[in-house]
Symmetry: C2
Subunit: 188 residues, 2 copies
């Protein structure tokens, strides 16, 4: 079984190197991106939507050219294990998701997915082998058309110096930067 | 000049492979993460905050173990070119930012930063060589204490089946998943 352009074992090593550990979500995520890549509409450039910030964004970043930093990957905080790859201009794409109906055939995977953890290392190994065995059979797929205007990252627009901290910030955020208007993640 | 554990040239190649192209923001981002890594407080585990979704998250993901998918990288939509690495428990960390005062010594870099583009390839090459020459001298740094409760990704909590689409979603989102309650990024 291949995942993207990698063998299964190569993909596992790349995941460990990037993500720090090989988790079930990264392997299922790899299968999902692989299936989306094989079914993507024709076109030269495509973007990605990831409907959860957990695990799956890393599979997308490792297997496609879509990353957070280059803006081709949009992450939605929907808590859904689903990835969409779509052609940038038309918005035509394919959405691949983890299908609860298909999970019923795999009690171990089903239990992991709905509890979101495994506590026993032995269970973890069993889970990983079941995921490898189940492969793409866990996945549902549908054609979608993306509202590209809704997901594309907007332009930053003009930049100014914040009068409080003296750093650059987008003028569209107001009279000061967001750090200085009370949203700072740092203790004063 | 090294960037993280890589030589400058190795880092450029890794950026191209991951991000698709080598852009000024990725090189400056690499210098910023490198400086933060060299000045991080003692501790075994650390997380990252990136104050912009543009470019810089990819430098962080390439040079540290903090990624979007593993939850150790928090991205804030503040439009500020700044990265913080902090110890997970205490919140003690170091924040590295692009300092407008220091940019004044480098008119080409200053122009890029405040206009956010270069239109002429020749200018692009000149800009890249100036960034390499300027190196860490562009950067400001400060010690910070992170409000860890504010930036840590919350637990997903219980998962249920959405009665509309039949897929799994976090119960805390309401009676249906966000795709089905009107927030879908797809045309029906």
């Amino acid at each position: 079984m291949n995942i993207g352009t990698y063998s299964y074992e190569e993909y596992v090593q790349i995941v460990i190197s990037f993500h720090g550990a090989v988790e079930p979500g990264l392997i299922i995520g790899g299968l999902m991106v692989d299936q989306a890549l094989k079914n993507i509409p024709e076109g030269e450039f495509f973007n990605a939507i990831c409907e959860t910030p957990d695990c799956l964004p890393d599979s997308i970043q490792l297997l496609t050219r879509c990353t957070v930093g280059n803006g081709w990957l949009t992450i939605l905080d929907f808590g859904k294990f689903a990835v969409t790859l779509y052609e940038r201009e038309s918005g035509n794409g394919v959405r691949v998701y983890l299908d609860p109906d298909r999970l019923k055939n795999w009690p171990g995977i089903n239990r992991w997915f709905f509890k979101h953890k495994t506590t026993i290392p032995k269970d973890h190994d069993l889970l990983m082998s079941q995921i490898k065995e189940a492969g793409h059979s866990l996945l549902g797929m549908q054609n979608v058309r993306v509202k590209t205007g809704q997901v594309n990252r907007g332009e930053m627009g003009p930049v100014a110096i914040c009068p409080v901290c003296g750093e650059a910030y987008p003028v569209k955020h107001g009279d000061t930067c967001r750090n200085c208007n009370g949203e700072s993640p740092y203790l004063v």
